[in-house]
């Protein structure tokens, strides 16, 4: 009994620390995105609030906390209140499964990849429900479009992750990382470059990021499916999007880039290589946002169904064939 209680307390504390660190990461990811996109557009990002603008996310959070929470007339109140939480929870829970370093996974379940995919499918609920409950035709259309986009790209994402499972022989994320460390190529990026490409494109589409952000289109339709939300609820949707980015990057790092493994050990920071790889992928997300124009909705659906799914299926067949032969 004593041991069990102690285990539970350790788990809760670890979970709290992980949550605080990830929320800080998300907040400063918004800052990093504004700064990096600004520099790529030859202007300065936010630089007034703290030294070099470092307190900008805190200022944003305070502003959103003190805004009036407007609830439009005739909305479906329970769903309206619930939808941001669905998005946020489904986005953020996957973080508990990612192995951070050799001996630390918050929750080491044997069907890790399946669980992550299931959670990202559930986040589609958050989008569609928020669009529908807003009682506004543009929010509704935005929600439907976004929901369709998310479920189309999930298929390609799932199939490309299946090839990793094929090569590693297990769905447990810690086992996948160990399999990569013991494999010939060290990271699954090299044999699975097509799957990595499909996964990254699908991940960008899952998070509704440019160039696939027509349902959200910050410069055109104000915010698409979460246009009727204000104040803290809007902040929750916003956080859910950035959490999605971090979770997808973490999943890509774990499955394709070798997880926490690195060429040499850094003494005090056990998760050093993991963080470096995640930061590189997040920079890639932001880089793409600053560079590419937006896809039209039909071009988007074409890409998902007619190009990515056949590509990932072909990759799956070839991998399975090679696995069978070798």
């Amino acid at each position: 009994m004593e041991g069990l209680l102690w285990e539970i307390i350790k788990l809760v504390i670890a979970g709290l620390i992980l949550m605080i660190i990830s929320v800080l990461h998300v907040a400063y990811l918004t800052y990093a995105e504004r700064k990096i996109v600004a520099r790529m557009q030859q202007r300065l990002g936010p630089n007034r609030v703290g030294p070099r603008g470092l307190l900008q996310p805190i200022a944003d959070m305070l502003k959103l906390l003190t805004k009036e929470l407007i609830v439009p007339y005739n909305v479906d109140k329970p769903i309206f209140y619930l939808a941001p939480f669905i998005s946020l929870v489904c986005g953020a829970t996957s973080l508990a499964l990612i192995p951070l370093w050799k001996t630390f996974v918050l929750s080491n379940i044997n069907v890790g990849i399946l669980f992550v995919l299931a959670l990202s499918s559930l986040s589609a609920y958050g989008i569609v429900l928020s669009g529908w409950s807003s009682n506004s035709r543009y929010a509704f259309l935005g929600g439907i479009r976004s929901g369709a986009q998310v479920i189309s790209y999930e298929i390609a994402m799932g199939i490309s992750l299946l090839t990793v499972v094929l090569m590693a022989g297990s769905m447990n994320l810690q086992d996948i990382v160990m399999a990569q460390v013991h494999s010939v190529f060290k990271i699954y990026l090299i044999p699975q470059i097509i799957a990595f490409f499909v996964f990254m494109v699908s991940a960008v589409a899952e998070c509704n990021r440019t160039p696939f952000d027509l349902p959200e289109a910050e410069n055109e339709l104000v915010a698409g499916y979460f246009v009727e939300y204000s104040g803290m609820r809007f902040a929750l949707f916003y956080l859910a999007e950035y959490f999605g980015m971090i979770v997808m990057s973490a999943l890509a790092v774990t499955c394709f880039l070798g997880g926490w493994a690195g060429p040499f050990e850094v003494p005090f920071i056990p998760c050093f290589w993991f963080l470096i790889k995640i930061y590189a992928l997040l920079f890639f997300y932001i880089w793409i946002r600053a560079t590419l124009p937006r896809y039209r909705y039909d071009q988007l659906m074409d890409l998902g169904w007619k190009i990515l799914i056949p590509l990932s299926l072909a990759n799956l067949f070839v991998t399975a064939l090679i696995k069978l032969i070798i």
């Binding site: 600004a38 520099r39 790529m40 557009q41 030859q42 202007r43 300065l44 880089w287 560079t291 590419l292």
Partner: protein, 180 residues
């Protein structure tokens, strides 16, 4: 586009290279106004209004001819004069400019025969109420003092001698004006 260029997404890679280059090597074009840079406007910039102070009398040079009132397109100058019977001169009692109506065209400083009214190069002024920007004579003279304190002498506003008019047609004092 060639097949390989399309498949390997080389166009997108070119775009990515450009933005990366911009991030690394381009200098930002933002002007960091107020903290680091206070741009100095060109000579003759039409900013805050001022009445030139006469060194001898300490009051304005204005002779009360009302030319500026008549030429102002926005009708923002209001003048009241009275005749000073002792010195047999016209004296300006009230000279007010409603800066919120003004369109900053500069006609008043072009037409004034004695170069008494001027639109200085001072652009950083605010008013918290509408009254703050309704300049009366004292305020206008004070504007002049503030402005001339930070200029090097002699100060000559280009609008005081308007171009396009042959020099013989200008009034005498305007023709021979050399600056303050």
């Amino acid at each position: 586009m060639s097949f390989w260029r399309k498949v390997l997404l080389l166009e997108i890679v070119d775009g990515l290279k450009l933005t990366f280059k911009k991030m690394v090597s381009a200098k930002p074009v933002t002007i960091e106004y107020y903290d680091k840079v206070r741009p100095k406007p060109y000579s003759g910039f039409r900013g805050r209004h001022a009445l030139v102070r006469d060194d001898k009398t300490g009051d304005t040079i204005c002779i009360g001819c009302l030319r500026c009132v008549k030429v102002c397109p926005a009708k923002c100058i209001h003048i009241e004069t009275e005749v000073d019977k002792a010195a047999k001169r016209k004296k300006v009692v009230k000279y007010e400019i409603d800066a919120l109506r003004c369109i900053f065209c500069g006609y008043c400083e072009e037409v004034c025969p004695v170069n008494a009214i001027v639109l200085t190069e001072w652009y950083e002024y605010v008013g918290l109420t509408r009254d703050d920007l309704y300049f009366d004579k004292e305020k206008l003279l004070q504007n002049w003092d503030e402005f001339i304190a930070q200029q090097d002498r002699p100060y000559f506003n280009p609008f005081w001698k308007p171009r396009g008019i042959p020099i013989e047609r200008l009034p005498k004092r305007k023709r021979e004006f050399k600056g303050v």
